[in-house]
């Protein structure tokens, strides 16, 4: 059995190596720990990262964990990492909003809301890995249903879909 500090070091190493989100289940299996213990340890780690002078932090992402930089150091990092390809057209953002709040839904349903053809925007969002096909609708023609990905949560700095800003129904 590993010491508590060793467990923390292991988690740190795992999170460092993985560029993608690591699920809680995966960590439980690798470290052979029960869920409450693991959650408690990671919670402690998050606090430690936040309290000390560190450039990185541990973030929750859709029930898993991932390492990211602290927002305070965004300016320094962006001097090295060019955020050039990070532009989405208003049409793409509008479509993305519909998918984010209403997922899963089909292209026809998106177009019903927007009132315009949306093929090209969907292709772009798929290529960027922000949305993907999450299933087929049980309707004639079995149209694809779209949903957002972990990449979406990362891009918009959201921990989960529950974190989406509230939108009012009517005014």
């Amino acid at each position: 059995m590993l010491m508590r500090d060793e467990i923390k070091a292991s988690i740190e190493a795992l999170l460092f190596v993985s560029s993608e989100r690591i699920s809680l289940e995966e960590l439980m299996e690798i470290l052979n720990l029960a869920e409450p213990d693991l959650k408690q340890i990671i919670k402690e780690m998050m606090m430690e990262y936040n309290q000390s002078q560190r450039g990185i932090q541990i973030l929750t992402l859709d029930g898993g964990y991932i390492m990211g930089t602290k927002p305070e150091y965004a300016q320094v990092v962006s001097k090295m990492v060019k955020p050039a390809s990070r532009r989405l057209s208003p049409a793409a953002l509008e479509t993305l909003a519909i998918i984010a709040y209403r997922q899963p839904l089909s292209k026809a349903e998106i177009e019903q809301i927007r009132g315009v053809k949306t093929d090209r925007v969907i292709t772009t969002l798929m290529e960027k890995g922000i949305i993907n096909e999450v299933g087929k609708k049980a309707a004639p023609g079995k149209p694809a249903l779209y949903g957002t990905t972990h990449e979406f949560l990362k891009l918009f700095a959201l921990s989960s879909l529950d974190d989406l800003p509230m939108i009012q129904d009517t005014e």
Partner: protein
Amino acid sequence: MSYLVNLDKFYGPLDLLLYLLEKEEMDIYDIPVALIADQYMDYIKATGQIDLDNIGDFLIMASYLLNLKSRMLLPGLTEEEDPEEGVVDPREELVNRILEYKKYKMAGEILASRFNNDVNRVFFRNGSSEVEWVEREISSSLNILLRAWYAVLEKNTEELEYNLPQRDINIGEKMNDILRVLPPGGGTVIFQDFYTTISTRREALAYFLALLELIRLQKVEAVQEQRFGDIKLCLRVVVSDVNAG
């Protein structure tokens, strides 16, 4: 006549309608249909040439608005339709659509403000696995595969001089031939080697179609490390196994 903005500025007919409503400060629950339909038509006419690709959706809305306008002029008809619920406002559907659209347009703007907020941005490590995968996979460039096929044709196949009726070549059989040769442990076989034993174009074609079909069914992975080089085939490993390792 006021200045008209180009239609390109709007992301769709609902966007334009919303703009008109807000510009004139109209009550969305009591839309003056005749007025808005006229203004809407002004915009459509102002675009000049009709490019069906871009303007099609706008025209659908235009005909809907004109239909609505004429229905509003005939109040008697709508009253008879639904006597118990009172009068159903024919504009209700339009109002709901505009409100629904407005909701997501605003949501998009909220998302945009988060997205474009470079000051407080959180950076993540770049995944390296993705790039690697793209370079290895052949399915993205059918052209290279086709070129290999032409090379095979040049090398090998003379048309038979006497075309005797022969047993038809079955692509399913060729698929099985390819699968049989592939070692189960993930070892590779060179695709071009299949062509050393064949004599007719038909058979060469059958092998090629069989290969494409196997790639399509994701049973086989084809890798070509350099252009015009050998195409190496191996049985495809189930993706989840790779991730677990």
